[in-house]
């Protein structure tokens, strides 16, 4: 066991993958000598060489498009997109090629591509540096999408993503990069929890609170605050955003009868909508109240002086918990 920051944990996972499989190749902008703008690939080019840790020209579509070609040739490319907001130039290659190639070729050509995306807000950045684009990809059949919330999962799941024969979008909560946590670097990957599975991170009985990535910590804090008020909140870290482990959420909601979902992405068409809809379908008769979504607003990510108003925080989550419980809340008295 060692205490690692989030960024170091991913770095360690990447290192392990590079060591274990000569077909693993890292590519992206500034990932070499600089080690990436967040230092996640720090030292890897030095240790594995310029052919395995490749500084590419500045073109996202080409990063993903050449990764498709490398995958065709039997490689396992791990692409870094420098910030969430820079993934859109590569959207076509991701949606029309990476996601569809296996289906298109009737399983003959595999796309074991991992796309690492530092995502989410809260670090005071200018435009395009704080987006939460995950719903674009969870709506794209053929992709797997995961997000990690702690250094141990970051370490394990980056290796699982790279080992997966399916393409994986790996969303890294950039505002947690410096958070530290215990990481067991010796743990056996084959016995690790499947990357498709959610995890109950705080058990509880009154309300189910579902989230992922950067807000898992906030949700846990909210659960602690709620406990002080005598409300028992069960926090579920989804880990996998596509597919979502609905069985885990369902099991919890059958118990609590109440659901709150929180994410930073805009509300309309965000993951919260899918979770609310699916859970309502699956356990309508168990629900005591409508699922509540506490999310970013339907606005472009705002300039940083206002971002704390946009991002769900402990208070807003607790207000959502109150809503789910039918207790007094900011919308009390409002109809519809």
């Amino acid at each position: 066991m060692s205490k690692l920051t989030f960024a170091r944990a991913i770095n360690a996972g990447l290192r392990k993958s590079l060591e274990n499989d000569p077909k693993v190749v890292l590519m992206g902008e500034d990932i070499g000598a600089l080690g990436g703008v967040f230092r996640v690939t720090d030292g890897l080019q030095k240790d594995f060489g310029k052919h395995r840790v490749v500084d590419t020209p500045l073109a996202e579509s080409a990063i993903i498009g050449t990764a498709v070609g490398l995958a065709y040739r039997g490689y396992r490319p791990v692409c870094e997109i420098q910030f969430d907001g820079f993934i859109y130039p590569a959207f076509d290659q991701i949606v029309s090629q990476v996601a569809k190639m296996h289906y298109r070729t009737q399983g003959r050509v595999k796309m074991p591509i991992t796309i690492r995306v530092p995502f989410g807000g809260g670090i005071g950045s200018p435009e395009h540096h704080s987006e939460s684009p995950e719903a674009y990809f969870t709506h794209t059949s053929g992709l797997r999408v995961i997000s990690v919330s702690n250094p141990q999962d970051a370490y394990t799941m980056i290796q699982q993503a790279i080992a997966s024969d399916d393409p994986v979008l790996y969303f890294e909560p950039k505002r947690r990069y410096h958070d530290k946590g215990e990481v067991d670097e010796t743990a056996d990957l084959s016995t690790a929890l499947s990357m498709e599975k959610a995890r109950v991170v705080t058990p509880g009985s009154d309300v189910t609170l579902v989230t992922y990535g950067p807000l898992v910590k906030t949700a846990n804090d909210a659960a602690m605050a709620a406990a002080d008020e005598g409300v028992s909140v069960e926090v579920i870290d989804l880990r996998s955003l596509a597919p979502i482990d609905f069985q885990a959420v369902e099991a919890s909601v059958r118990k609590t009868g109440r659901l709150v979902i929180t994410h930073e992405a805009a509300q309309s068409g965000g993951l919260g909508a899918e979770i609310a809809a699916s859970i309502t379908e699956r356990c309508f008769n168990y629900l005591e109240s409508a699922p509540v979504r506490i999310t970013g607003f339907d606005i472009p990510y705002p300039y940083s002086k206002l971002e704390m108003h946009h991002l769900p925080d402990l208070d807003r989550i607790l207000d959502g918990v109150d809503r789910a419980l039918g207790r007094g809340n900011s919308l009390s008295g409002l109809e519809g």
């Binding site: 190749v25 052919h51 590419t56 020209p57 073109a59 579509s61 080409a62 993903i64 498009g65 050449t66 990764a67 498709v68 070609g69 490398l70 995958a71 065709y72 040739r73 039997g74 490689y75 490319p77 130039p89 076509d92 290659q93 029309s96 090629q97 569809k100 296996h102 289906y103 298109r104 070729t105 009737q106 399983g107 003959r108 050509v109 595999k110 059949s141 053929g142 797997r144 997966s164 024969d165 399916d166 498709e196 596509a242 597919p243 979502i244 482990d245 609905f246 069985q247």
Partner: protein, 392 residues
């Protein structure tokens, strides 16, 4: 390089020089000379340098190139007919581009890897793809017809220009492996406007990988003449990326063979990427759904018919005394047979099963897909015993 230059280039305006009196660097033309080894009249034009690259082509091989072009034209015609008869949903004819595709396709080594577009059926044929497999996707029976690894040719790309990046990435893999095979990207004149094709050249040049870009400039992108994409020659694009280019008469199978071999050889020897512009003409509609009379002049088609790639090779064979009755008969028989098999293959192609929908979305089991498949199969079963049973 003093080969004959095609005189009329209807799609290409001459580049207009900027204001005179300003000495700023003006764009130079590279690749301005059109490589040609057979004239439109079927004369063999000798060229000290390019001849070297086809000196091994025996008379027999010339006949075999002829056969390939005849066969692929026949496949193309048969597929067009099958579409008209409702057996295919759509077909993108390659009529007129046989020399470009056979010349390029026959230059390749087995371990080279091709990333083609929807129109490159001639190249796919050269790679050994079964004619029936060529049309599978156009019938709607599958999203692609063949196993890319069996023939070392990817499935046909529909997103314009996308495959140029795949080829470049594959070439990065070849370089990484230390192999001496080559990745080849095929695309059209229209594709050169897409960001992806330009980014592919950036990457190919930056990493100096073994990739050959072959652009069949068939003068049209659906209804748009090539001058909408570029006022200067397409081959000139490459030099701005530091990639050498060649411009070849795409209706001259020998010339295409020669320049493709040159490019492949350079790539194998570590010389990096090459860009080839094969100047040809799409004699048919864009696809069977297209009506070119809406946008192009019949005269233009006539002009190009006079440069027909097959007629040209035929004339050469005739001059050389190679076009014997026996050769004609054999070629005809082969084309007939291939067409017959294609037709039979299409008509007997079994329809896919409904639950095939859910196959291969992922390579490993996926809870969402499993659930939807389960629900849909229950749904289908719910009709059992009802009057609609037969419909399934």
């Amino acid at each position: 390089m003093r080969s004959t230059v095609l005189t009329d280039e209807p799609g290409q305006d001459a580049y207009k020089a900027p204001n005179p009196g300003i000495s700023a660097a003006s764009p130079r033309r590279t690749g301005g000379d059109l490589v040609q080894l057979i004239s439109p009249e079927g004369e063999r034009i000798s060229h000290p340098e390019f001849d070297l690259w086809v000196s091994d082509v025996t008379d027999e091989q010339l006949c075999s190139l002829y056969e390939d072009m005849m066969v692929i034209r026949r496949i193309d015609a048969e597929a067009t007919a099958l579409q008209r008869q409702g057996e295919l949903a759509l077909w993108p004819p390659l009529l007129g581009q046989e020399a470009s595709q056979i010349g390029a396709g026959r230059a390749l080594r087995d371990d080279d890897f091709v990333f083609p577009s929807y129109r490159d059926n001639g190249v796919a044929y050269c790679r050994g793809v079964e004619p029936t497999d060529l049309v599978r996707a156009w019938r709607g029976n599958a999203s692609s017809g063949w196993d890319p690894y069996r023939h070392n040719i990817a499935t046909q790309q529909i997103i314009i220009g996308s495959q140029s990046l795949h080829a470049t990435g594959y070439a990065m893999g070849i370089q990484h492996d230390g192999a001496d095979s080559v990745a080849v990207a095929l695309f059209g004149d229209g594709a050169t406007s897409e960001g992806d094709v330009n980014e592919a050249m950036v990457f190919a040049a930056s990493f100096q990988v073994p990739v050959v870009f072959i652009c069949q400039n068939n003068h049209w992108a659906i209804s748009e003449p090539v001058r909408i994409q570029s006022h200067i020659q397409i081959a000139d694009r490459a030099s701005g990326f530091g990639i050498p280019s060649m411009r070849v008469d795409g209706n001259d199978v020998l010339a295409v063979l020669a320049v493709t071999r040159i490019a492949l050889d350079r790539a194998r020897k570590g010389g990096g990427p090459t860009f080839i512009e094969a100047v040809t003409y799409r004699m048919g509609p864009h696809t069977t759904a297209d009506d070119p009379t809406r946008y192009r002049d019949a005269n233009e088609l006539e002009d190009w018919a006079a440069k027909d790639p097959i007629a040209r090779l035929k004339a050469l064979l005739r001059t050389k005394g190679l076009l014997t009755e026996e050769v004609e008969a054999k070629t005809q028989a082969k084309a007939d047979e291939v067409a017959r098999n294609l037709r039979a293959g299409v008509i007997n192609m079994p329809d896919p099963a409904p639950l095939d929908l859910f196959k291969h979305v992922y390579s490993t089991p996926n809870s969402w897909i499993e659930r939807q498949k389960d629900h849909y199969s229950r749904y289908l079963e719910s009709f059992s015993g009802s009057t609609q049973e037969g419909a399934l």
